[in-house]
Symmetry: C2
Subunit: 528 residues, 2 copies
Amino acid sequence: MQNFSVVSSFPLKPACTFTIPKYIVKFPPLRLCSRLHTSSLTSSTMDPSPLTIDTINPKVLKCEYAVRGEVVTIAQRLQQELKDNPGSHPFEEILYCNIGNPQSLGQHPITFFREVLALCDHPFLLDKSEISCLFSADSIRRAQKILGLIPGKATGAYSHSQGIKGLREAIAAGIEARDGFPSNPDDIFLTDGASPGVHMMMRLLIRSESDGLLCPIPQYPLYSASIALHGGTLVPYYLNEATGWGLDISELKKQLHAARSNGMSVRALVVINPGNPTGQVLTEENQKQIVEFCKKEGLIILADEVYQANVYVPEKQFHSFKKVARSMGYGEKEISIVSFHSVSKGFYGECGKRGGYYEVTGFSADIRAQIYKLASVNLCSNIAGQILASLIMNPPKAGDDSYESYLAERDGILSSLARRAKTLEDAFNSLEGVTCNKAEGAMYLFPQIYLPEKAIKAAAAAKTAPDAFYCKRLLNATGIVVVPGTGFGQVPGTWHFRCTVLPQEEKIPAVVSRLSEFHEDFMNQFRD
Amino acid sequence: MQNFSVVSSFPLKPACTFTIPKYIVKFPPLRLCSRLHTSSLTSSTMDPSPLTIDTINPKVLKCEYAVRGEVVTIAQRLQQELKDNPGSHPFEEILYCNIGNPQSLGQHPITFFREVLALCDHPFLLDKSEISCLFSADSIRRAQKILGLIPGKATGAYSHSQGIKGLREAIAAGIEARDGFPSNPDDIFLTDGASPGVHMMMRLLIRSESDGLLCPIPQYPLYSASIALHGGTLVPYYLNEATGWGLDISELKKQLHAARSNGMSVRALVVINPGNPTGQVLTEENQKQIVEFCKKEGLIILADEVYQANVYVPEKQFHSFKKVARSMGYGEKEISIVSFHSVSKGFYGECGKRGGYYEVTGFSADIRAQIYKLASVNLCSNIAGQILASLIMNPPKAGDDSYESYLAERDGILSSLARRAKTLEDAFNSLEGVTCNKAEGAMYLFPQIYLPEKAIKAAAAAKTAPDAFYCKRLLNATGIVVVPGTGFGQVPGTWHFRCTVLPQEEKIPAVVSRLSEFHEDFMNQFRD
């Protein structure tokens, strides 16, 4: 509480001196006026004008989010036109390859997960004998167990701000089983997907534009967008396309020191593994170098590990950064790591459930208290998402009734994704002036397109980036939606696009032929 | 895209001039260094220290959230102690009256809603004949209809960033039926509860500390917390406790002009109707005055209308601010209104589902585009919450199989809440030095306690606010959790607490006797 006199910004009450809650900031007029925007002054003290683009928070204007950006808006319009007026375009459907949204393209959810969710949504069913022929025995047992973890079995109640304790214990057990190192349920914060967790950490770390976060380029635009919204600065480190999107420590050093020499306070390193949009899987050796680098430089590791269940090549394997750090002998006190996970990705792809968590290690108790407070301001994440997060970390085990069908569903999806990734990769590499690295993991390919000068000039004339120009042409000709590399960042002067590997397998041949045909026409039109 | 040369903050690539995405902010070193915190400098350029409370975003430190604050943390500890060591306290259970969380205190969900959710979670059930004896016929029809609105029936897919079009159409239809004025599905943004929508509007409106938002005092701390996190200033207008928490236009004028004369740019008026924590329901006449005031002063109305289904007195009725404005002849172009709603409140109290929406009217197309962008950064809200939002705005109708049972559940809950509110109100008013206004709506009572000087001194000695001192004593003696008035704001020198009316009816007598007994002891101990 702070004291001040009535001669303050709010001269109102009889009392001569009084206390008000901290959040009511006192404004010494001088200090304020000196900082005041004219625009605000006009809009506030003169005849008030409605909100305009010039009077909103400029950080919002700065923020960009390409995976739902202009190309997608055009696609939504085309889809409506196809609906209202079939045959109005040279294609019958819009194929959304812009976003990792498997179930929107026909992937089926994992049956066991949905059984448990349905029973938890309507526990009344658990008292009915009829369910034995509708639900697997272990889904019934699991639902009963989960409801037992929820005070009053109330799936409609706000939970603890970090998420239901029993579910966090289950997730911590899953992490231990994955890593072979202990995990503490109190370190787990359940979230509505990974994004809110990333925003929360940006909110905690960013004080001003002089706070920087090292991010890979190309990166997933959640990072550029959240850094822009919170008013910080993205410090890029470029992945090496020539070595399959390798992460070079020398590049990290160069960028960190360049930023620091410009007076930046670099707070954390964002690393996405498996990579998005790049699809590479880091080697354990490389991860050790990254941990060593962050340890030495005092950087927090923000580890985006949402694709941990999507690895397609036998020679690579997912290792969490926490596991790598612990295996190097760095404990709680030696290094700060935040690991983000989500129910939206993996083979389950439950994007619409908005479930996820982050595991926070290596922070002091008072920082933890601030993170808890941030979580509590939004009360809690949705309970179905919390339940699902506990399920992906504790799927059916050998001996459970659902085990065989679960394995079949899982392996069916993963092997199909691997085949689709390979087919698309080969297709891209067969195109004139296109090179594409292998997708070792995640759900994306990020081919580079060498655009003819004529195409680049045409793009400039159309006031659009060359890769966006290409992607819009592709969309209008084929209905295929991909995202221009500009939205992810790329080595200046190079052009890419991100394409998911998610179209259902039977559609892949059509995608390939439509893509190839378009590309050939495009090159014929613009070849120098 | 912006151009600059290699002699920039990131001197790395061979190319001499190149373009990088907008979000990579260039830093002219001079400009930066002049603004740099020493703390950042030390932590970045010298031997780096781990994150400390002095180096996090100070806005996070400033933010407070009392409904999940200190008293609740103590309660969670006591609950654990009772579990580990039964009989260790003079009560058997913790009674959480700190937060509007009905199902955590035993309220049952509305059956129809849960039937629909379960069927949408596991659509496989819809093909099974057995469900006819497990689900109501109209819940089956409704689930089929809703799945038909979702592309590919994919409840596991990300939706349109604003929410599923067909569900927004259903919500708009519900709003029209409620108000008698048109509602546009494109004005609806579905959210994970009301809170994220409020944060989104604060993000849009707040540029700096010189941007102010008029908020009622007492207020729900979501507003003080989100304003603090986004770096704006809460401009308080005090509700008149003497007239049943009346909202006086003269007070609004006084506060607005005081703030403006201090150079503040006041952007919007937050109004909570029915009131939280105060429980009053505004008269239509009063709402017209508020609309007129905001129209004249060019203020956006941020209308928290999440308790619209919780009105307990026959003489009062809920009217949305949009309906009132339209009935006064103010259209889309004349006034900006944002109406927030949630599935967490009402008689359904589905807090754990995190569903809600806000309806945005009276903003230009370019501002709308910015709001859409903010929504898209988090992709979409959870689909079950979206479905539930469409259900609360379109419940079973006369003729539907569930109609009778739905009415019985609804009226049972509402009439019980009204009885509980009255019983607690009378109980508070019967206590020495306590006065309590009637709860006309919402779920709370906000009694004023006239604390003896001796108690205030004791609180000061304990370095705590007098109302917090009282609430902690109450908790330790009875296990009843209420929130100190300090967390909501109150006329300086007055002390209150917020108590929900949600304990199940059979428990109310015990609550009353425990409260009364405690209060008598407290007063005996501290009476001057």
